[in-house]
Symmetry: D4
Subunit: 251 residues, 8 copies
């Protein structure tokens, strides 16, 4: 516990030890120390302290310069960095300051991979219904890979051609967690959920038109899944699905 | 054209023929004849005139006496009569005046079968996802049967146990029209739609809780079906599905 | 059954026949064969195998090059190809590689007609309420024509000028299926449904403003149609309506 | 202007006249007089002062005793009194204290008619789509009659049997205002609106099930009417329609 | 009745008169005449036939050439023409072919005034809550003026500064109909409705942000007005309000 | 700081002082102490510690016995207790164990007043639109009174009779905070907000029918108030309004 | 593989082995066997075959006799049985036929525990915001316990008293999975998600009133959680949360 | 009372004093004076007359010239002026005519500070959940500062990192009012509300995607806050929050 914050507390004890402060006065002073001195800052960093959890940047609405700045700063700590909803312009700016950064085109993500250790114990499979769901699915793939998982993807296996999905039943069954991305009626997670005995993370996508309501139809469909092993994240939230699946896979 | 309405028009011509009226005056008078004299009343009866289309009574909100009255009146015309959303109390009242009326328990329907001719050319299959969808599915069955169709039903074949559905793939494939009833995520019509090359009539049911929103989730799911051969009727409208399917099956 | 997949199964039987494998071991191996070996892949192609069903491309979001690529590939199989929600840019690219492709302007569709056989047994009529509904109506027309149907269209016959619709009552009555496209209050399918004794496919359009909510008002209106012969497809889904109508018309 | 309130103002002037108060002081005092002294209370009574406008009681949620009390009090003023959404229990209580009160069964209204003068200049026609819409339609009828109008009603003329409506085209055309009540898809006002050249007051009703959403589908349909002469009141608000129509009819 | 359509009917009578046709055969032929021959086309034109009702063009989505074409065609009939939701580009094109056309800037309307007769019997007042509601309010003004009404407008009298509205109480009270346009909470019609004893047409506008939901909050507010003399048209439908008010004002 | 929790921390310092523990070890132990030992438990009681804030019980769904139990327990501490959404049955049970409890009929609240000190510095006025809003308004009144405020109520001053509200303008202007309860279109807070220069707490009520949507119309209206001094609490949340107003009034 | 279904396949091989059937004929026959003979029935039972997964009965809408019947049937297989949304009447009926069944009062669940093995590797903690959320939380607890997990529950730790939650931070941190149930604003999962590095399953509950919209507010809140480790199940779906958590905990 | 309006009233009194008018005639004339003569215009200015309340301009949709015009006009009165939702173009135009105007970049506000007096009695703290909420939060800050308050801001303290918020607990506790801006799940006001005993003004922001629905999820969350001291303003309405908080802080 060599941190600066701890110092102020340690100093209190030191002053008590050397008699400069009575225990009662120390307690009183303790109450008025700024919060972070009490060691709670570590909560703050629990995410970053956990091995294999990358630093996350939400790219949307940030300038290329701002994104580049963050990558530059994080680059010093040797951790993986992931920018989601990123643009090519943002990547160009990042690339200039951090040579090793890569752009995952379909996933619209900037990826900096420093830590290549395997943290996940098994396979994560990402299934998607149509080719239009691929950006969301790939965001899940990129996230899970960057968090140290073996990931397989299985695209274009929508429920209206159920045999295509069934043809891959065995490979899906090898997974410890399955992520399913689907827009329109969002029926795929129920079917996949019925085929496997592991947790399924469902991601509604905003794919579709008319009564798809930008993913609301898919979201409702997934919330009402008749398969009991399905839980759901926000519309188009491929990152969240990859993140949750990664946490599950390292248990 | 021996009807009363036509009479007034014929009379006009007669008056012109006998010179009592000039053509110009006749045209003028024609414009002021009540509408039904122009023969449009027959439109009114196109439904009842079509062979095999039963008289329909929407039971909800009617008193037992009212329903009995209607059955009694229709009983004279030799046509089939169907009361949907009917209660046992309504049936008891009907039974007293029309001996041959039957009560379809699960479908909550009172049925009077006078015309047993087969009007449908092939098989209509009614598929439902769960046992709770059965009242809606049975309403479709009863309707289609009363309209002179061969009907098969296939219940409890939800998408989370897809193999149960696939096991009946061949019998479904024999159908000329398929009706699919499903609540919760309403995914079944998409899967069935993908298995057959004939029209699928989807019926969202109000089965489910929470974000099922009394059938809205299922309705949206079905509107966004990724199978192109699916069209949709109102929530819990088993009757409508049976009716549309019957019209298709007699083509 | 000369396909490769079947080979692996036939081989199993051969091995049993020659005594290399006991029946029990064969059963066990059978269970671990990949799914497609069991002959289900043929399900996959049921759509394309059915005569007169064109290959469908959803144009929205695809690059001109991607669309051109698909047309080029499909051109070899002698089937009709239809790209919906297509742009002039996409058509230009297609035109370069497939000379016979045509652009249906109002329908926003690229059409490649190779198979001109008549598959539909009767007439499909496409009715629309206002001129703004024409892109959706024409998408239905193009789809039904490409699937080998005789199609008539009847535009600008909204319910506020009901006589215009009634004037065409007889031509509508000749149809085996009627498609009705309407935005705003979506009332037209009910009126048309009351005039004919055949199935009506209703298409809500996103035409209107304010409380039209991009087609939701029309969708709800159609779901609640007081005419029993109406079923509904997604907002602006002219293609779906044409597809369902075509399947009905070939029964 | 003999009222008490005016007195305080007149007194100010009197004090100025007699020199007890300077004009400046009077102005200052005027600013601190309670509002009603300025004669605005008469605004309050503009509704009751207008001949032929009845006193309105919203019955729902009131005890029989409360409703009876109001009728008893109003009975003294010789005006018509109307209680909407009233129950038979409320009527029984009213009947005891006001002999001449009547109960309009279908309209669920208690009516006390004291003033039988004709205030409306022409005919108000109330049209409704189905028999279930009758309570709402009758509330409109009762309201308009009590406000001194000639009223005709035309029931069960839904859009799916458009000829029934057309058959009454001429009688509708005689109206100065038309009220149209419809549930489900709420399409009737558009059709009626297209047949007449006078204002149409549309009343969505909560009749229907599933995607009718207790009148929301009908409300949206009517808001988006393609007939320009339609304006809309709240769901099931037969009273409001009768009230607006009456105000129009006395212009 | 010198129209072409009537000719075919008159010819029938003529043939009966001259004995070329028996009355019975004539009746039979009558049934197969196209609908418009029966004189119903006049229904079609009831709008245009009514004096002072302009030809209406909905500008949105039309090309300048299309709008110009319509004005050119209508210009021959001597009637007023109104294009709503029009652009300056559309006006420029119209101006070239119809010199007298004017552009109402705030109302975004192209106006051609040929008939300047006064059809309305009294005053129509258009009230709006804020300056942002002015385009909608002005559309109502332009419509009512073109339909031959005296129109006064009263802007920026929102409910949060109620005294501004009250200051104009007397001028509002002179109106035969009042149109009230308001966005955000849409409260103004209720307040105005309470001040006058004539019909109030409420127009919700899409003005506002956040929970205003593009006019839905205002629409709901107006549907639930506690003033009984309020009826409502679609969001931003200034034209409809002006149209309904004009019909009322000529009664 | 004589509390038990502080003891464990003080003991740590004592051990350091007496040399039983090194400062470093003490810091380490500190990190593993249960949270409440760090003195945060006092946060817990900040609400109850503040003078004049009553103990709150949400009555809905609790048995009479449970409510009585809570009153009995709280009765010992000499604080005020308020049960909202309470029934007469619950009150009967409370009355048996706490003699001084009172039932506020309209407000549906059980009140135990032990502390009668005045905490609010000025007047809180509670305004409501209609008599049906009174239960919500009275809940606000009871809450504010129990929290030690002078409260005035002003009922039945809806916006359709704006002069009634204006007549009380001066008494409203004396308030430090105004609470406004309204259902239906929820317009009243905007009008009141425009009349005063102090904070207005708006409470939408579920009063109304049809498009009132159980208070949603009023809620949206209030969220979009054109008066800048309005903030809003949940539908029917009279308690919350009274609570917020009380906190403001004691500033 | 001694099952009946497998028999028909084994018989095929046997016939090939004995030369009664050529391999080609066998392949052909194989294609026409009913689906379940192909060994897919095992998919059906994958749930029940997995150790520790109980048989689930959804109690709502079933008669006591139906529920008792199911328990009686399942009782023979030695597996755990869980009936959710069960009533005391249903339990009474079950109790008569299956002595060991227990009723979990708060969870409204009937529980039959036959298999007491521990399948979960670590601790599942169930956190809930208020006492009204307890039925849902307890359903999760009962489900997870029946699936062989160590479960701890932590109730009444809502976000408005955040210190109560923080006081239990360390015990929460020991969990492998955390289930969080909350109604109203549904904020608790975000706070808990920020405190732990493991998956959080969020359950919106229908607790609340007004704008809580029966759990919709909580559902939306949870879908938009700013904590990345949160996924969501349906409103009030405590069972689903317990099921998903159990699957995760046995990984 | 030297204003022009008052003159007409004073003149009445003068005429009465000099005997030119009897008191009765004066009363009668008074009734016909235009409204503003009665001194109500002062209501109009109550906002501007209150010291420290700036003139507010809603920038959105106004041209730079219009905004500049307003600033120029208001500049003469020596009051503060605030333009919200303003653009840099608008600022450039303002800058030319009013040198001292400043642009608050993040808040998107043009600020003219003429009156620097302190009107607020204590501290207003503005808390926001994420950096994307800053434009809304800064709008609140700018508003409150311009209304003469001491304002502190505390950004990026979302509920998923609750310790960051707790670390500033003491500084928040010093506030007389707290404004909390949050998008996504909108949970922060509940947590802050639980930490302080003063009014909390919650501002939902449109930050988020998918099921955030442009601020609806946050709005609902805040309406259902389990902290009783929270009231809510419209989505993104930072100005309204700053305005309400300022009114509270000067009490």
């Amino acid at each position: 516990m060599p941190s600066l914050n701890a110092e102020s507390i340690r100093k209190l004890f030191e002053q008590v030890r050397t008699g400069k402060l009575s225990p009662d006065d120390a307690v009183e002073r303790l109450r008025h120390l700024p919060f972070e001195d009490l060691g709670f800052a570590k909560v703050d960093h629990h995410r970053t302290l956990r091995a294999g959890v990358p630093e996350i940047v939400f790219g949307l609405g940030k300038t290329p310069a701002q994104v580049a700045e963050i990558f530059k700063a994080e680059n010093k700590h040797g951790k993986n960095v992931l920018a989601t909803r990123a643009s090519k312009e943002q990547f160009a700016a990042v690339k200039k300051v951090v040579r090793n950064a890569k752009f995952a085109d379909t996933a619209r993500a900037i990826v900096l991979r420093r830590d290549r250790k395997r943290y996940g114990k098994g396979l994560i499979t990402v299934v998607s219904a149509g080719t239009s769901d691929m950006p969301v699915a790939e965001e899940a793939v990129v996230t899970a890979e960057l968090m140290g998982n073996e990931v397989e993807s299985l695209y274009d296996v929508g429920v209206a051609g159920i045999h295509r999905l069934l043809a891959h039943r065995q490979s899906i069954s090898r997974s410890r967690v399955v992520i399913v991305c689907a827009g329109m009626e969002g029926a795929l997670p129920s079917v996949v959920g019925g085929l496997v005995g592991v947790p399924v993370i469902a991601v509604p996508t905003s794919v579709g038109y008319g009564a798809a309501f930008q993913g609301v139809a898919a979201l409702l469909g997934m919330m009402n899944s008749c398969a009991s092993n399905v839980s759901v994240v926000n519309i188009d939230n491929g990152f969240g699905a990859g993140y949750v699946a990664s946490l599950i896979n390292r248990l």
